[in-house]
Structures are given as structure tokens and as C-alpha cells.
Symmetry: C2
DNA sequence: GTCTATATGCTGATAGAC
DNA sequence: GTCTATCAGCATATAGAC
């Protein structure tokens, strides 16, 4: 598990607690996105979770703890949803896998991506450590794999770090800018087949951009 | 000028007013990004602008007016910074121009891009009208131009709307995720040559992705 | 575990002296 | 135009009855 804060939550159990905590986190995630951290009041989170305000504070002690719990879930999701880049896959399959994984995550869990994006845009106050350690290491390792393929003449000579940023940005866009995309396309919601369509589009362009298909 | 709200600001003049208003808007932009709309207090904006709080409210009447003024500036910048897509340019030059314009805007004015991104991610509360009218029309018009080139066999048969989203997301990423990118690359600031490097990288990949170069 | 009542502090906004 | 003083409202968080 990726640690977002030093403090470890002492896990208490119980069925009511489990269900309440889940409801609170879902409600809080939505409120934090729409209203921002300061704008989301404990009362509004409680209302959305259909619980009295005091109960919310009973489960999480204070507002910041709620936010930390959400960030923790977001990073865990990031960790499991980011397809891996393995040397033995070769460049084409590696790129296909990672685009598919990222697009799927964007469509299936847009709110996690939005919370993450808000955090980074606002200066990564809570995620500086995550970026400095975990993320930096991840990018450097994967860039090295790409560089190996490039040196081997298996793909075009493009900057691997920029390539990773390109894949991240173009896939996450469908989660973070969901509202704008739906409005422009005059649609109410994404549908299942959008996942496939976007995956195909991005895979097609980026693979060709890397000279991995005609 | 793109209108963000129905209310028109009655323009008052005066040198002190002009300078104060500019300082306030610069300070407010930074505060709104870091703290969010609700989190940015009029006091914090005044402190950053080095003015008494009452003066800030004297110039802008209330907090929401400050925010509207910033959004207005952001949209004007969007309008002038988004390179045009002209049929007579042909696909290659059109894509080169628009990527160059967007990358330049991202590096020269990251805060405008961040304010815009925050607005959209948080549900486009203040920009729904802008997206529904102006933006939707813009995308449809430009998609039609791309489609013309595609039908003419001048470029690969890719979805033009997705292509526009790809160009937007991949270029804006360097503004919005500035903090993350700098942290990963272990750098303190962007430098002038980064603009050229990123422009070249994105142009290279996307042109090849559209079969517009080898 | 659940909920009511309340303490304490900070916010946006205004009134009015200079 | 500029600034000080102040108010009314809402926020988080806690204490303690049930």
C-alpha cells in the first residue's frame, strides 16, 4: 500500500461501521470534488451520506481524516489500475496494455481521477511525498524500459518521459474533463462502448506515433 | 469577447484603480488555485495583493465578482491563444500551429489553464454556458475541417473530435500538472527550451499518428 | 453507537471616519 | 479613494444525554 501520511489508521471493525464509513467516503468524495476541500462542510457530507453530522465526526474524528482516507483509496486505485510496463511484453503490447488500463480506470472511476487531479493542480500539498518518491521512481524505471526498446531499434526515438506524460494526460482527460466532453458531444453520460472507442483511438495514434504500426 | 456571465462590468478608469485591480486579480488567481474558491478568503487575497481587505471589496464589491473577472480573463486568453485551424493550411501545418500555440500558452500562462481545469473538473458550474455554446460550436467546426482532409485522403482516418481532445489534453497537461512534472523530473522550474522540446515531441508523435509524416 | 446542544473562531460584507 | 471597526452568520469540533 502506498502511504499518503505518516499516521496509520487503527482499523476498527463492525458491520455498521464498515457500511457507514463507506457511505461517508463516497459522499465526501463527491462533495470534495464539487465544493473543494474548504467548501465541503461536514454537514453537507453528512447530508449526502444520510447520517447526522456527529456520526460522521464519530467515525473519522475530523474533516482532514476523511480527506486523507479518500486520498489513500485514490492512490491504492492508481497503484492497481496503472498497467505495468514489462520488458518481455515488447513496446507494442506494453503501450496497448497501459492505455487500455488507464482508459478503463478513467471511465470506471472518474471521481478518483478528479480528486487526484485537483490535488496536483492545487500544488500537490498532500501528495508531494508520493510524487517525490513513488511516482518519480516509477517513471524513471519505466522510462528506462522504453529507452531499452529505443536503443534496440524496436520503436521510434521519442523521449520516454514525455511519452509517459502523453499517455497519462490523454487517458485521464476523459475522467477529469468528463463534464466538458459530455457537454461538447451533447450527451448525458458515457456509455460502455465509449471505453473501447477511446482505447482504440488512442492506441492507434500513439502506436503509429511510435512507429509501432503503419 | 466571450461572455461568462450576463452582468456587464461598468468600466471605471483611473491609474490607481487599474493597478490595484490588476494586483488583486493576480493575487486572487493564485489564491483560488491553491485554496479553492471557498478556501481563498478575501483577507488572504488582500494580504497577497498588499492591500487592506476593504479596498479589495471596494474595487470588486464581493468575492464572486473577483472570481468572475478572473474567469473572464481566462476565457479571453483561451480565445486568443488557441491557434486557429484553417482549411487552406492543410492538416500538417494546422496541427503544427495548434500544438505550438497551446504548448506556448501552457508554459507562458499555466495559472489560467489551472483555473480553467479546476472549473471543469468541479463540474463547470460557471462555464456550462461557455461549453454548451461557444466550445461545442468551435469543436464541431474544426472537426468538420479535419473530416474534409480525411475524406480527401490527406491524413489518416481518425476521429476528429478525439483528435482535438488529444491535442488539448496533452498540451494543457504541462500547465495543469506542472507540480507533478517538475517533481518527477526533479526540477525547480520550467525553462525556455522546454517549450520547444515539448512542442517538437508532441508534434512529432501526433503528426505521425495522423500519417502526416514518416 | 447515536444524536442534541453548544462553544469558539473565522468569514464576507458593511458603515462610516478620514 | 482609503482604511478601521464591527456585525451577523456559518464552520468545525466537542460535551454529554440517551
Amino acid at each position: 500500500m502506498i502511504k499518503v501520511a505518516a499516521k496509520e489508521t487503527t482499523k476498527k471493525t463492525g458491520k455498521i461501521r464498515e457500511k457507514s464509513e463507506y457511505n461517508i467516503l463516497q459522499a465526501a468524495q463527491a462533495e470534495f470534488i464539487i465544493q473543494g476541500y474548504k467548501g465541503a462542510s461536514v454537514q453537507s457530507i453528512a447530508d449526502r451520506a444520510q447520517l447526522p453530522k456527529a456520526n460522521v465526526l464519530y467515525y473519522f474524528k475530523n474533516k482532514e481524516n476523511i480527506y486523507h482516507a479518500i486520498l489513500q483509496l485514490t492512490l491504492d486505485m492508481w497503484d492497481q489500475g496503472i498497467g505495468d510496463i514489462k520488458l518481455e511484453d515488447g513496446p507494442q503490447m506494453a503501450i496497448e496494455k497501459i492505455i487500455a488500463a488507464k482508459v478503463k480506470m478513467s471511465f470506471k472511476n472518474p471521481n478518483a481521477s478528479k480528486i487526484y487531479a485537483l490535488e496536483i493542480i492545487q500544488g500537490a500539498q498532500h501528495l508531494k511525498d508520493f510524487a517525490r518518491t513513488y511516482l518519480r521512481k516509477w517513471v524513471r524505471e519505466k522510462a528506462k524500459v522504453f529507452q531499452h526498446w529505443i536503443d534496440n531499434g524496436e520503436m521510434a526515438d521519442v523521449n520516454p518521459v514525455n511519452l509517459i506524460f502523453l499517455i497519462w494526460s490523454s487517458t485521464q482527460h476523459y475522467a477529469d474533463f468528463e463534464t466538458q466532453i459530455l457537454t461538447i458531444m451533447n450527451r448525458a453520460d458515457y456509455e460502455e462502448e465509449d471505453i473501447e472507442q477511446v482505447t482504440e483511438f488512442l492506441t492507434d495514434i500513439i502506436l503509429r506515433g511510435c512507429k509501432l504500426k503503419q
